[in-house]
Amino acid sequence: MRIRKLYWIGQSKQSERKLTDMNRRDFKQLANASITDNSLDIEKVKKIAGLLSNSELKDYIKSLKRWINEHTVIVEVPDARKVAMKNIEEVFKNKEIVVRENPSLLLGMRLTDNDDVYEMSLAQTLTQIEEHVLEGYDR
């Protein structure tokens, strides 16, 4: 059994725990502890990463990615210059908005909020038309 010291950075608290295997909840707490002012704190991440083994690091990175996905909205548009950022920020408060250019959409946009994808694009409409036309025919 390894005894580890976990520094709850940001809370200025030091606690000792006897650890065998860390579970998902522990990694979630570590990910939360790596955040300052609603964004990732690189210094904290480095400190925590230094305390983990290679296999634990993998789970820690997954937890961080999960946190980032939950707090980021990806906006894909054919032309990044034509995005009504104010409207999107009003809807998705407290989330980071990332804009990406995706010419394959043709027109409209695709919003990815964690694992929800909202698409209102010309490319998607054309796909729906194709499915609608084909659905009546037996192949």
């Binding site: 998902r24 997954k62 999960r66 996905n69 990815t112 964690n114 694992d115 929800d116 994808v117 909202y118 698409e119 209102m120 998607q124 409409t125 729906q128 038309i129 609608h132 036309v133 659905e135 009546g136 025919y137 037996d138 192949r139």
Partner: protein
């Protein structure tokens, strides 16, 4: 030659009804893929049993909902799916599109055709998982499901809406009993079509659904060929999840079969569903559960293995007249090992069904085929599912057979027994002999009644056992040639009157004068 303007016109007509909607989907990322089970992160809004689609076009169904991931079993090959691939929900629970065009088709549990014909796209989407009809929506089982097999129709009668288990070791004729039943339904349907009879005392034509689970493709091809030869395929739908198909399809196949049956039942039709066999479905479900990490119980089956079969078989029902009056009759098949009916899965299914037909190896090897042990086979619906005609001739046969079985141990002391006991033994031998029947030759009810009456009336007591089969066959033909009204009266299902018995005896006396006994060489 098709004009381009016609094509454009058709496309315009089709697009006319289209409305563009903004789409929202719940997506996830594949984290792990092993043994046909995918673990994906995301998919926070996935439902249990929901159909999901992978980027490659493969389909899966959600079977486990964990805190940060879901487990999905694949319904297609898993070779193209790798870590990092996208998977999205469809918002649909797993279902199969059914229509009347499905009759005569061979399909997989997802409704995809396996017979080289077009996929059925238009129809009603029937969910694979569904809650069975409640108590109030049902009516008692009182209409016979005629199998055409004398031993069953006389001694273990099955009714429409009943669940009757067929159980036995491998190679004893379980599938043969089911196929003969399907062939007989087709023959009855054609007969009803010919006479255009509106009298449904003996029931409406029955549609058959045969579900092949985990069987060899060669066996399935043989069955399809036989149904075609007997002209029974037009009335039948075959759902196939073969031995080489993913475990998920073998697990889902019976549910697809009953979903298809429910479509016809809701239209007021009577349907027969054969599950061949549920043992393989249990194996497939065990495999899936172990890979999903569910706790293993007795014989490594998961804890809900009973529920797997109970919720399937509860969907066999006879609906009340207010709900259309349709029915689903289930013939589940279970394969035992070395005749052990006290094993886990057999006892589970025995406790669920409304009776069982036991097939025994000893009977099979001694030439009694179908190898049905009438003594320990049961139909809990019983004579409520028999016509008056059959009841009147088969009633005393059960007692005679039971007495014969009791006395059979003393058969070796034949010369030391009193006359009455000898007579009982001889009668029992003849009854056992008439229960022998060739495969793929189901009989009409009139023929069955004639055979049974010929023996129970004592007219065959002086015929050697080796000649009894020929005796009853020729007697049937003789009755048809002498007096057609007798078979018609028997086929009507009404109780056999004394007048009919007198006519039969008269014909029998004439027949016996001309019947010659062949000495056994």
């Amino acid at each position: 030659m098709i004009d381009s303007n016609d094509i454009i016109k058709q496309l315009e007509e089709r697009v006319h009804g289209f409305h563009a909607d903004g789409a929202s989907q719940n997506v996830g990322i594949v984290e792990q893929n092993h043994d046909g089970v995918i673990r994906a992160s995301g998919l926070s809004k996935a439902q249990m049993g929901e159909r999901v689609l992978f980027g490659s076009g493969a389909a899966g169904v959600v079977l486990n909902l964990d805190e940060d991931s879901v487990s999905i079993i694949l319904l297609d090959s898993s070779e193209n799916i790798k870590e990092g691939d996208e998977v999205k929900t469809t918002g649909e629970l797993l279902g199969v599109t059914v229509s009347d065009d499905m009759l005569g088709r061979v399909i997989n549990p997802l409704g995809l055709p396996l017979d080289g014909k077009a996929q059925i796209k238009k129809g009603k989407l029937m969910p694979l998982e569904r809650i069975a009809a409640g108590v109030v929506d049902r009516q008692p089982v009182d209409t016979p499901m005629k199998t055409g097999i004398k031993a069953i129709d006389a001694m273990i009668p099955i009714g429409r809406g009943q669940r009757e288990l067929i159980i036995g070791d491998r190679g004893l004729g379980k599938t043969a009993v089911a196929i003969d039943t399907i062939i007989n339904q087709s023959k009855i349907a054609k007969q009803i079509g010919k006479t255009k009879s509106k009298d449904d005392k003996n029931g409406k034509p029955v549609i058959s659904v045969y579900v092949a689970i985990g069987q060899k493709q060669s066996t399935i091809a043989q069955i399809i060929g036989r149904l075609k030869d007997e002209d029974a395929l037009d009335n039948t739908i075959i759902v196939v999840a073969g031995a080489s198909d993913p475990a998920a399809l073998q697990y889902l196949a019976p549910y697809a079969g009953v979903a298809i049956a429910e479509y016809f039942m809701e239209k007021g039709e009577d349907v027969l569903v054969v599950y061949d066999d549920l043992t393989k479905q249990a194996w497939a479900y065990r495999q899936i559960s172990l890979v999903l990490g569910r706790p293993a119980g007795r014989e490594a089956y998961p804890g809900d293995i009973f529920y797997l079969h109970s919720r399937l078989l509860e969907r066999a029902v006879r609906l009340s007249k207010e709900n259309g009056g349709g029915s689903i009759t289930a013939l589940p098949i279970i394969e035992t090992q070395a005749g052990d009916i006290s094993a886990y899965i057999p006892t589970n299914v025995i406790s669920i069904t409304d009776g069982q037909i036991f097939l025994e190896g000893d009977l099979f090897n001694s030439g009694i085929r179908p190898a049905i042990n009438v003594g320990i086979s049961v139909s809990r619906v019983g004579t409520a599912a028999q016509t008056g005609a059959m009841k009147s001739v088969a009633g005393k046969m059960k007692l005679e057979l039971a007495q014969y079985r009791e006395l059979a141990a003393f058969a070796q002391f034949g010369s030391d027994l009193d006359a009455a006991t000898q007579k009982q033994l001889e009668r029992g031998k003849r009854i056992t002999e008439i229960f022998k029947q060739l495969q793929y030759q189901p009989l009409t009810e009139a023929d069955e009644i004639l055979d049974i009456w010929a023996v129970t009336s004592g007219n065959a007591d002086d015929i050697p056992v080796s000649n009894v089969q020929r005796f009853i066959q020729e007697f049937r033909d003789y009755v048809l040639s002498k007096d057609k009204k007798i078979p018609e009266k028997l086929a009507s299902g009404e109780k056999v009157t004394d007048e009919v018995i007198k006519s039969l005896q008269k014909v029998m006396d004439e027949f016996k004068k001309g019947f010659s006994v062949e000495e056994k060489k």
